[in-house]
Symmetry: C2
Subunit: 555 residues, 2 copies
């Protein structure tokens, strides 16, 4: 599969090479990769004749011909290596049965027909061999910058450790730069080969410059043996999460490291997710840094937006689309950003397994101005660093509001915020320049108001929740009887209660100021949902399949 | 103005007779009769030439030509009595700028152009002479039944009383049927001439048959002088409210009165609304009953659905669309309806001044089945008894759910349920046959749960609400600080808390059974919003005005 995006035409041209065609194939898109309610291009053969058509599958997986044919077949060609199919699909067709191709993740699905079929209706979708590929179809047309001739590489990898036989491990490994390593710019961080299946995400942090030295350490991050000083290693140099591919810095910026005023000490943190509790697995995963001594115009930075990792932000069980929102307030950006502002050029969205959508919106003077990054078909298994279509300027006093949508229909107890894979996060790592001291601009509900919520649930529901101070917040959430009232009131609480702001420098130190019980940003004007642009209908298209002259299939 | 509805064509043909045309006119429809965001047919003249076109006005009242011309001019003809304009409009045009003609109230607006204008854009909508007429455009095509030859009339009117000089008065007047008046059927109740401007609504009730006599009374219904026995006069014989026109019983039914087992005593109740506190106004308003001795197949009945008149159901101030719902539960219909069910043939929706929409839905086995009556542009100034397009069958175990939408944007304190014009009601008087003992099937939130709400608001908002038991419920509502949390939680409460059911016979006696703390009906499947049926586009229509050959206007 390959594809070309034409922004002027607002259409995608797909080219499929089918190496071993049997009696046809299905190719298409659906909300999250399911074969029900999918929008499909279908090539099928009854053994003698072949047909191509635009179809859709209903909630039961039954295929139907689409009255409006929006997958336009442009060509079908046999070649020694297989059959080439070329077809075109507009981003938006204004056909309610069709998938709307948007900026974020697209779940491409495909299936192979192993037997001849006499019609579209005869295809049994549950019996076919099928697959899923997550892609960002509408990647912006950014040319890959030329790599400088003086480029060097450095690998920061785990030293052949044994992955603990438990579900969630955050592993910490301390390493250091060579003596007298001068300032360089990282221009491309790449994951090294390793146990990709068990690595959920990893990050390379630089330590705080105010300490002359840091102890060596190689062990779990939550161990009591871990020296406290490692908590001062929080400046992100490189990050990778499941599904992410190589990412290039734009020509005008690179991530500074080395040189005076910069610590030699680095901390590699790897989140291992080992649900089957494999024992004795060795790992040397890590990140390879491509860097140059030819400094670029700007030092780049990485900033975390969204929610603080705390159990006070929780999702009731059995929700199909529950929203949590984290704020980077005007007060924080006022204090931490330069007058000329910063420019965000890339973004990596991050949640754990319940995440379904993530969006960050820029708001100024109470009015939403611009979407920084949005993924309406977000998958936690596909967390790329994505270049933005256009660079977003953020000025002092602006607000950055990150909202995640979660699905907990398969869970029987509340999902709280935290580090575990079954706990949740709502984070947008934004890549920007010029670098500032602001490393983290996130929020969580005020714990005092959450305490009022538990009291309220307690009293309203006849003392069913234990709010004894000795019980942890997750335990209190687990004991809430989740009726519609308690669900609704939790939503209302998150939409009303003041927040605790984390407006932090890299050393986990807050900027000076009062950050507790801060008012929620007020939005007086929301961005409009974009109205899909419908292509002018090029005359009535027949709802009949297009016969193809491919000869008999199954050569 | 006259119009014809063609249901097969899904279109309305309007005929306008303009007796004194100056330089054109505007005619159209809008949500609630405003001239902004209106859908308009415009005839205008620059003094020499005349044009006709489909236009819309934006939120500022500026007129724009509609790219899709959906008011189709069919003819324009000068006659001695004036200019006739004939045009056609489909119910639904699928143009987002166009008004969707639905079953309920339609606010028709018109304006006269007093000066020549050179273009549509030159029309200043705020400067023109304008008017409003509320109608039900889509009245069902029910033929008026022939009136029987033996039809007689009887007037039940106030005996030249003096309307009290206060805003709200419910006046009670007792009268009686002649001695030995046999059973008859009321077939048409009509309001008599009177102080229509001050009469909000009136009803004729028949008293309970178990009492041999009732005291005479003529005075305010809430007076301490009113004999208690009058509370047993609650069986509705006829009702009228602002805007209602004559209403005919269908041929198979009539409202029984007279004869053995039926009380001779009647109570006329008139709700006077006298906001300007006029003094010394005399009134003899009342209802004229048309009745026949030729009994029809079924005795008809009137049943009240919706909310009990109690302050526990309240609307916060400043809401643009707040919903309150009243239930007639399966338990009540199970007990009170005959196995063969009842047939609802007409419905009168009733709220006070904040009401904007009313809908009653029939639900069976937890699934919504049918809309009984709905008005999405409901006006409290236009409360007709409306014949239903199709008779609705209701069986034991069915649920009737009535939801009212209120707008309190112009109010600074909460609006509670009650009898005053600034208090609210949510009622659907349904007319049905055969008559049953069920006079009233309404609900309100359980008062104990409302008390929990006040406690909760109190604690969550730092003791700002006084919930001392001596303070009335309206006073408690008035003291709530209406932040988003308190609003949201009130909504959640009404959507969650158990209800107190009024499942009453005509004598205000409840059917036997437990009616307090009843569970809310559970709806597992909602009715879909009807998808507007778009007429096939009859070729591209020009977005240019149609020139008319009318000669020079202003003869």
């Amino acid at each position: 599969l390959s594809w070309n995006v034409s922004y002027p035409e607002q259409a995608v041209h797909f080219q499929l090479l089918i190496r071993d065609l049997h009696f046809g194939l299905l190719f298409g898109m659906s909300d999250r990769g399911e074969f029900e309610n999918a929008d499909l291009a279908v090539l099928w053969s009854d053994g003698h004749n072949s047909y191509f058509g635009d179809a859709w599958s209903d909630a039961k997986g039954q295929l139907h011909m689409d009255p409006q044919q929006d997958y336009q077949l442009l060509g079908a060609r046999r070649a020694p290596e297989g059959l080439y199919l070329l077809f075109r699909r507009a981003f938006s067709t204004c056909d309610p049965k069709d998938y709307l191709i948007e900026d974020g993740t697209v779940h491409l699905i495909y299936g192979i027909l192993e037997k001849p079929v006499h019609s579209l209706h005869a295809i049994n979708i549950s019996a076919i061999h099928r697959g899923l590929q997550r892609v960002q179809l509408l990647k912006p047309n950014i040319t890959v910058p030329e790599l400088p001739s003086d480029m060097k590489t450095m690998e920061i990898t785990a030293p052949d450790i044994v992955i603990p036989s438990q579900e969630t491990t955050y592993w910490c490994y301390m390493t250091e730069l060579p003596d007298d390593f001068p300032k360089h710019h990282i221009i491309m961080p790449v994951i090294t080969a390793g146990n990709e299946a068990l690595v959920h995400h990893m990050e390379v942090f630089q330590c705080a410059a105010e300490f002359d030295s840091f102890p060596r350490y190689n062990g779990p991050c939550d161990s009591k043996m871990k020296p406290d000083r490692l908590n001062h290693c929080r400046h992100v140099l490189a990050a990778w999460a499941m599904g992410a591919q190589a990412f290039y810095y734009p020509e005008e910026a690179g991530l500074a490291f080395g040189g005076p005023g910069s610590s030699r000490y680095l901390r590699l943190e790897i989140h291992y997710h080992n649900p089957l509790v494999f024992e004795g697995r060795h790992d040397s995963s890590g990140i390879r840094l491509y860097y140059t001594a030819t400094l670029r115009l700007y030092d780049a930075g990485i900033m975390e937006l969204g929610l603080v990792y705390t159990p006070v932000m929780a999702i009731p069980p059995g929700e199909d689309a529950f929203l949590l929102t984290g704020y980077c307030t005007d007060k924080c950006t006022q204090l931490a950003l330069p007058a000329a502002g910063i420019r965000i050029f890339a973004s990596q969205l991050h949640t754990h397994l319940a995440g379904r959508k993530v969006v960050t919106v820029l708001s100024r003077d109470g009015r939403e101005r611009q979407v920084v990054n949005a993924d309406g078909h977000y998958s936690p298994h596909f967390q790329e660093i994505r270049m933005l279509k256009e660079v977003v300027a953020v000025f002092p006093g602006d607000e950055l509001i990150t909202t995640c949508t979660y699905n907990t229909e398969d869970r029987s107890r509340a999902t709280v915020g935290g580090f575990g894979i079954l706990e949740e996060m709502c984070v947008n790592y934004v890549h920007y320049y010029p670098q500032t001291q602001l490393e983290l601009c996130k929020s969580a509900v005020d714990p005092g108001y959450l305490h009022r919520y538990f009291n309220l649930v307690n009293r309203f529901n006849d003392e069913e929740v234990c709010t004894c101070p000795k019980v942890s917040i997750p335990q209190q959430f687990y004991s809430v009887p989740w009726n519609t009232f308690n669900r609704d009131v939790l939503k209302s609480l998150y939409g009303f209660a003041p927040i605790s702001m984390h407006c932090n420098k890299s050393s986990a130190v807050r900027f000076p100021g009062e950050w507790e019980k801060q008012p929620l940003p007020i939005i007086t004007k929301r961005l409009r949902e974009p109205v899909p642009h419908c292509p002018p209908a090029p005359g009535p298209r027949p709802a009949t399949p297009v016969p193809l002259n491919l000869g008999e299939l199954r050569r």
